[in-house]
Symmetry: C2
Subunit: 615 residues, 2 copies
């Protein structure tokens, strides 16, 4: 039988219901968690909804319980109205905030940090002469607030008298806990947007979301403009300390970038940035501090402490972010000086804190964060891999941008792909991994990382690549593209020194994994899943990463790419105050291991720079 469409407003949530079903059933199907105090028996009248289009004749129960005026306006009881045609239903504001969202594999309750409540304020009279503020608070008592507890800034009180009278005493109050952060004239409850940010050292990504439905309205990103003051966190910390107004410049740069992204996201989605009321920030500890304008100086020196790591809520006005002035900024908590809120967000986004299995999550980068989850412990470390994975300090290295060889294949002959197509300009980190992994498998590199002279190579498959083995400026090198095949007319190659750089980088990561396993007393065999997070983790060839020993070889089949899990975590924290609170629990319960002071770390690291896992 053909069902009818029921569309819930706000949010445009559409479900199909069989004829004869009730709106209560439709709510259930839409995952909207409404209350039915009398159990849906048409007794209490609490499940009033307003039917915007398609309202039929009221039932006897409705005629009994509702006023004639209400019936005329389309008010019905969700438990009693049977559906006999398509309907558009306006949800009362108290249930607008309880919609279930499915993100990836997880389902969670939307629980906005801020609430919009449409209120009708008592008009003053000689008998009701209390202040505008008192009557505004009084109007919220029916919505579950304790009037005596409510607070507001003086700035809001300054706008109140004219707003309340212009609007004929109908306002929308923007609530954050017991603070009225804003007032808007008339009923503006129909829209509430937010943005979730992931501020990376290199890239800033922002997601525009509908806070009622969780729907993603757009994604925007840009290069972190702080890059011009230093490529990595250490150089930015140095800049913040040593240059005049260094901290202020870095702070201003990231705020400007975020405001630009807010404008861009709103523009692309065709929405008003004034309808954005919440922002979440996930970032590594240094980017976190620079976003807040707090000095990251002491992150860089032992014992590597941050100024603030706890969850932090600030007003949009205080942080000069160009969203609604009633809006709030929710900064996710850091775990330690070098394990930031981005890692907290990854754990939140992957739900690793709830895992019953032993799992590893690895975010590979200049500072790679690794977390091992095992039997209710979460142990994190930061591995100083250096810039090799980013293509820096590599002879032909470059970022993963247009012109970079990103993947290399040792088939019958050497193949590669170039980002954006065309002739290559250099190689990025993932291609370096592929090349070294291929050369290892061919026996062209030995386990100490030495590029062997051709006469010492025993593997016959290596013969096809003989002419690519050459000397470059006095050191052995492997040619990927000769001068005639590149965009700039210079050869692209991997040198002995590049291999050494990669060994240091992968050694640092592998040593981190080893230390975490030792700390938790687990073996490789215990690990059920290896989650690769972040841009590089999603770009590399898992097999190559395992061949070079960046990830233990026996875990290759356990690898799962989780995309921008930090972004996912930031989005969850934006859509749900409960998830944001969970982020605080994660950051608090995660243990941190400082690798540099781990007993015997230097020899573990030295050992891990070898390629000894092979054969």
């Amino acid at each position: 039988m053909q069902g009818y469409k029921v569309i819930f407003q706000p949010g445009d949530l559409e479900v199909e219901v069989q004829p004869g079903g009730t709106i209560m059933e439709a709510l259930d199907k839409a995952g909207i968690n409404a209350d039915f105090p009398c159990g849906g028996r048409g007794k209490c009248g609490k499940c009033r909804v307003k039917i915007l289009t398609g309202a039929g004749e009221p039932t006897a129960v409705e005629q009994d319980i509702l006023e004639a005026q209400e019936l005329a306006e389309g008010i019905r009881l969700a438990c009693s109205t049977t559906i006999s045609n398509d309907l558009t239903v306006q949800l009362p504001s108290y249930i607008q905030h309880n919609i279930l969202i499915t993100s990836g594999e997880k389902t969670f309750q939307v629980e906005p940090h801020l609430k919009k409540i449409a209120v009708e304020i008592e008009k003053p009279s000689l008998d009701a002469y209390s202040s505008d503020w008192s009557r505004l608070k009084g109007s919220l008592v029916g919505h579950g607030y304790d009037g005596a507890d409510l607070k507001a800034q003086v700035a809001l009180l300054r706008r109140l008298p004219e707003a309340v009278r212009r609007a004929g005493h109908r306002l929308t109050a923007i609530m954050h806990d017991n603070e009225i952060t804003g007032i808007e004239e008339q009923d503006t409850t129909g829209i509430m947007l937010g943005m979730a940010f992931d501020i990376g050292t290199t890239t800033i990504v922002g997601y525009l979301l509908d806070l009622y439905t969780g729907r993603e309205l757009g994604v925007v990103s840009m290069l972190n403009p702080q890059t011009r003051f230093g490529a990595d966190v250490i150089s930015r910390i140095t800049f913040a300390n040593q240059e005049e107004d260094g901290l202020a410049k870095l702070h201003a740069a990231v705020l400007e970038a975020i405001n630009k992204l807010i404008g861009e996201a709103a523009g692309k989605a065709g929405v008003n940035k004034n309808d954005i009321y919440g922002i979440t920030i996930a970032a590594n500890t240094t980017m976190h501090h620079l976003f807040l304008g707090v000095s990251p100086r002491y992150i860089a020196v032992s014992p590597y402490v941050s100024v603030v790591s706890e969850p932090l809520v600030a007003s949009a006005v205080d942080l000069q972010l160009e969203i609604n002035r009633a809006g709030k900024i929710f900064v996710l908590p850091n775990i330690a000086g070098f394990v930031g809120a981005d890692t907290t967000a990854v754990l939140l986004g992957t739900e690793l804190d709830r895992s019953q299995d032993v799992k590893l999550v690895i975010d590979i980068g200049t500072n790679g964060e690794i977390v091992l989850v095992s039997r209710e412990r979460m142990v994190a470390c930061s591995a100083a891999a250096g810039p090799a994975f980013e293509g820096a300090q590599i002879s032909s290295g470059m970022r993963g941008a247009a012109g970079a060889i990103d993947h290399v294949y040792f088939r019958d002959r050497l193949d590669y792909t170039v980002i954006g197509g065309g002739k290559p300009l250099g190689i990025c980190g993932s291609a370096l991994l592929d090349t070294v992994a291929g050369l290892l498998e061919l026996g062209i590199i030995n386990k100490r990382g030495k590029l062997l002279p051709f006469e010492q190579i025993t593997n016959t498959n290596a013969q096809a690549y003989q002419d690519r083995l050459l000397q470059h400026e006095g050191e052995p090198a492997f040619l990927l593209a000769d001068a005639g095949k590149t965009a700039h007319g210079r050869p692209v190659m991997v040198t002995q020194n590049d291999i050494r750089e990669l060994q240091l980088a992968k050694g640092a990561m592998a040593a981190g994994v080893r230390v975490l396993m030792e700390t938790c007393g687990v073996t490789r065999g215990d690990v059920k899943e290896v989650l690769l997070a972040g841009a590089f983790g999603n770009y590399l060839t898992p097999h190559s990463a395992c061949v070079i020993g960046l990830i233990p070889l026996e875990l290759e089949s356990k690898i799962k790419m989780v995309g921008n899990a930090a972004g996912t975590g930031s989005k969850l924290a934006l859509l749900s105050a409960g998830e944001y609170r969970r982020a605080a629990e994660i950051a608090e319960s995660a243990e941190f291991v400082e690798l540099g002071s781990y007993p015997g770390f230097n020899s573990i690291f030295a050992e891990c720079t070898y390629f000894q896992q092979l054969r």
Copy 2:
């Protein structure tokens, strides 16, 4: 027997103790409420104090309980040290805040809104790598705070890392409830000052107080600079509404004045205004709104509602007041649109809310506030007396400034006093009262307020004044000083029209009193006390006020002048958070009667303009 002096720091509180007494006894004598968990038996060691000068040998108990290092620093137990010479004792910060203050007739506990806590913050290490903010919060846990609950602004976090390291991890935290509003390097608990303000329409008065001891360090005052935009509240409301940036100009003017007074008070007392951490504001509702930058527009139109009347705490930085940036501003609550926080402060200062008797408190002015306290009810009204009491719209009228005749005496001959001495320029309100009262007693004015022609006057005592009765510009007048005796060479007199103006003014006040009595069902005989508050109330001759019927004649013996009771209330609210909370209770429980809509008010008012109570 000669006693020894014990001086407690901070606060310089000095008491004399008999030889052999303990510091515990000295604390008690000084009214300092310290805790002795073990009952002073030398068991718990909780009553540690530091003896700055005069420390003797430690007792056996002290040697047992205290560390050698502590003993060397002069630390002793208050319960165990017997006094055998003069001592200076430093109180630990936890008992600095419990000193009893006597203000006028009342004794109360000093309970500062803000607290200073000297803390030693754990130094970070590889084992204690939590954030600076986390370790700061942790240092406060031992002082009774819940670390998880503590909050701070981002601006404080920005200063934190350098401050904590420069100070060798010894800071003073400035606390307001669960907010750390400021941090200072080293131990700065020795000083904490505050200012209590009473912002009148005409005059602003500020009191500089030591928040530990309650000691008044100075009083400053100035003309409210808003006067240049309008003399009374109505003209200022009009200016705020109708002039371009009118509200902003009035707001800026009062802030500038208060900042000037802060600087002046600090300068005179030889203290640093950075040591001021709290400010209280008592003001009428319009001055209150203008101080906050909130529009007073709707106070002036029926139903005369304010924007905000509740107690309001704002930061010194937000309100741009030039005290310590950790400071807070505590605005006292209003009762109604025309019964402001100044009246709340008067009730607080006079403790009328606790009266078991029927009492009247009257603050005479352009808008006179009257409160009748009766059997647990407090009923307030505002009487629109007009400007006659201020000397405005009176032919020879002027403010109570130099050159004004302020008191008039009908003895053998007419005498008067002039403010500042010398020849008079005019008369102020109190002299108008004296003149009219005298003329009434002489039968020169009849009960309808008519200045009688000499031939109709029957009282023989009036003969001495025959030559002062004249015609001025076609109306009868009574001459106080002829042209030759005045500073400007024009006569100073009271005209028939001036008497009419005074009748309207006193009629409004008397009608207010009558309505409040009717409302509470009390008679004149029930009233035990009439408190006159405010500048005019303290300047007038009570007998004159009663003769003209401003105050019922039979209450003359019940009149008590209470000085600037609003200032007293503001001071109490500054020194004690408990008194500030009581102000909120007063404002909430006080009932307001809008005279204009009281049944039959017009005829009550008309009747009260007569002088019928006389003879």
